[in-house]
Assembly symmetry: C2
Homo-oligomer: 340 residues x 2
DNA sequence: TTGTACGCGTTATCAG
DNA sequence: CTGATAACGCGTACAA
């Protein structure tokens, strides 16, 4: 392994000079710099990450904390992070917390101790208060897919209220008057925001959603199974509705499956709309209409923001951190305007 | 940040003693050890990764090289790796190569330079010869989901021939006589092995698959789109068949979608079987019958093997590295034994 | 068993 | 603009 000293020796200069040309800090004579650069290339020298980290207590690495990369949504977050990281030659360190708060806190501690200040938080295992405190201590901490008012400038999220609104508006425009919602944990913010948007649209149209048509999950993770369960409940308890707004695509697809298994046709008997726009929308039958969530872009921006925060690049800072979702029409919603 | 020296000071011993109790190398008096451990816990000391890496030129980190974690198969590999890594307190560094050979080679180089000898290769961007060479130089290099004879003991893979065989046997048992195969790149090993297994089963049954009923992809990645394309070709060119063996679930689902869009019913008109057993099998209509690939287990084992290789634990070494796939019956294959 | 001293590869502070 | 020199935190021969 070729070191800085080796280069210095061969180039006939001091180690410090080599360090200067490598890092770009400090002035070096034009001629001298070029010579050193040539030697570096010739010897194929590459700086040692650990020595550098030890010396300046910082490291070119970005840590992502996520529940489980193997799910499509989380996987896309990871991709966005790495795409942005790679552009600046940062490495990506991923920790899956599997919904364990301790694992999440541990991971953050571990990152910090290694001098990694660029941390992307994508988990709900850590509460707002803790995160606000951590954000004060860690320059490059950024929260993705979540909004925490006191550190809004450190969050990158989407307008869930708007997302809920356009979903409902679409259903209403297709003639649906009796909407129902199957969603995630009652206490979580995203479900609440989306419901808020839905209610706004519903009221604007002079309609109403009774509480009994809003089904929550308890300690759920908005997955297929959860969607199935609530769909079954909808049918068994004979709720009166023509369309379902699911919290996300996974739940929507679970619901569609359950409806179909119970003998209902989608969208002929029941219309369903999802949220996220994962690749499975094209897999399901019928193809799932949904609200597009620009996941990769969001994650990419979050990463750029984190990097800007620690490196003092003002470019990204101050830009809007809220992205807008958009409607994607496929075939899980039926136009019933002229029926009934 | 609390260092080894701080602990030594507080405990009234020398730094080397603390180092010894932390690392476990070298004898330390029972009483002394306990005292030091108490102080460590009390001060919440945690060793500095970089200093350690610098001093001994090795690091407790495992690097995964994968095309793109955001796809279900690759994501599961990542999960398996991290699950195994976390058990030994190793960190997981993930690099997505997006099918670029340079990116893959770069990542390996980068890992090595950082003293990371534990590298899990999950990509076909690097050829066999290069990998064999690298395996000689890097103690902890392990190849997952791929078999390379000269370094078989460093590969963890599944029996693709057997997988192909049981898939075909199942179809044949269901009365299918005219099978067709839609698969991946002709030059890749996995498709070839699976085809081999299929042919074995077919011949054992006294049947035959003409070459025109085996459709390959070119430079494809076995995704949904690819499945759609070959399915369409099957129909348009009026190939004669009752069942389709897809290279993997993604292709199978693409094919099912295409068949359905063209007005065919699955499995009534055409039966389809996949490979991998991803979560989308339960999503598709009909639910996809497939060959189960123990992805997480394979990745986990590969990681344990890598760790054993570098740490000299002989436990895992020598065990069989080949896992066996198994049949999962769902509803995409019709029994036509008593028809026609 | 325990402590001392040096080196790992780099950066940063200070002279020159 | 350049070169010594001292850290950074830890492991490890070597000495005690």
């Amino acid at each position: 392994m070729v070191t800085l000293k080796d280069v210095a020796l061969k180039a006939g200069v001091s180690p410090s000079t080599v360090s200067r040309v490598v890092s770009g800090n400090g002035r070096v004579g034009q001629k001298c710099r070029e010579h050193v650069q040539a030697v570096i290339k010739q010897m194929n020298y590459r700086p040692n990450t650990h020595a550098r980290a030890l010396a300046c207590n910082r490291v070119e690495m970005i840590g992502l904390i996520t529940p489980n990369v193997s799910t499509p949504f989380n996987g896309s977050i990871a991709i966005g992070v790495e795409e942005a990281a790679i552009e600046l030659d940062y490495k990506t360190l991923i920790t899956n917390t599997f919904r364990s708060p301790e694992a999440a806190i541990n991971a953050i501690e571990s990152f910090r101790e290694q001098g990694c200040e660029n941390i992307i938080i994508h988990t709900h295992s850590i509460d707002d208060v803790t995160l606000v405190k951590l954000a004060k201590e860690i320059k490059g901490l950024v929260v993705v897919n979540r909004f925490i008012a006191p550190i809004a400038q450190r969050c990158v999220w989407i307008d869930n209220v708007y997302g809920g609104r356009i979903a409902a508006e679409y259903l209403i425009a297709q003639g649906h008057k009796k909407l129902t919602i199957i969603t995630d944990d009652k206490t979580a913010r995203d479900p609440k925001d989306r419901i808020l948007g839905i209610k706004q649209a519903v009221e604007d149209a002079g309609l109403h959603i009774p509480e009994e048509r809003i089904l929550f999950g308890i300690n759920s993770i908005g997955n297929i199974e959860h969607g199935r369960k609530l769909a079954r409940q909808l049918i068994e308890e004979k709720r009166d509705f023509t369309a379902v707004l699911a919290y996300n695509d996974m739940m929507a697809i679970g619901a569609i499956n359950e409806f179909q298994d119970m003998g209902y046709k989608v969208p002929e008997d029941i219309s369903v709309i999802g949220f996220d726009d994962l690749f499975i929308c094209e897999v399901s039958r019928p193809h799932l209409s949904t609200i597009h969530y620009p996941i990769v872009e969001v994650a990419k921006f979050a990463t750029q923001l984190s990097l800007a925060l620690t490196n003092g690049d003002e470019g990204v800072i101050g830009k809007a951190n809220m992205f807008m979702p958009s409607l994607v029409e496929r075939s899980s919603v039926k136009n019933i305007k002229n029926n009934k």
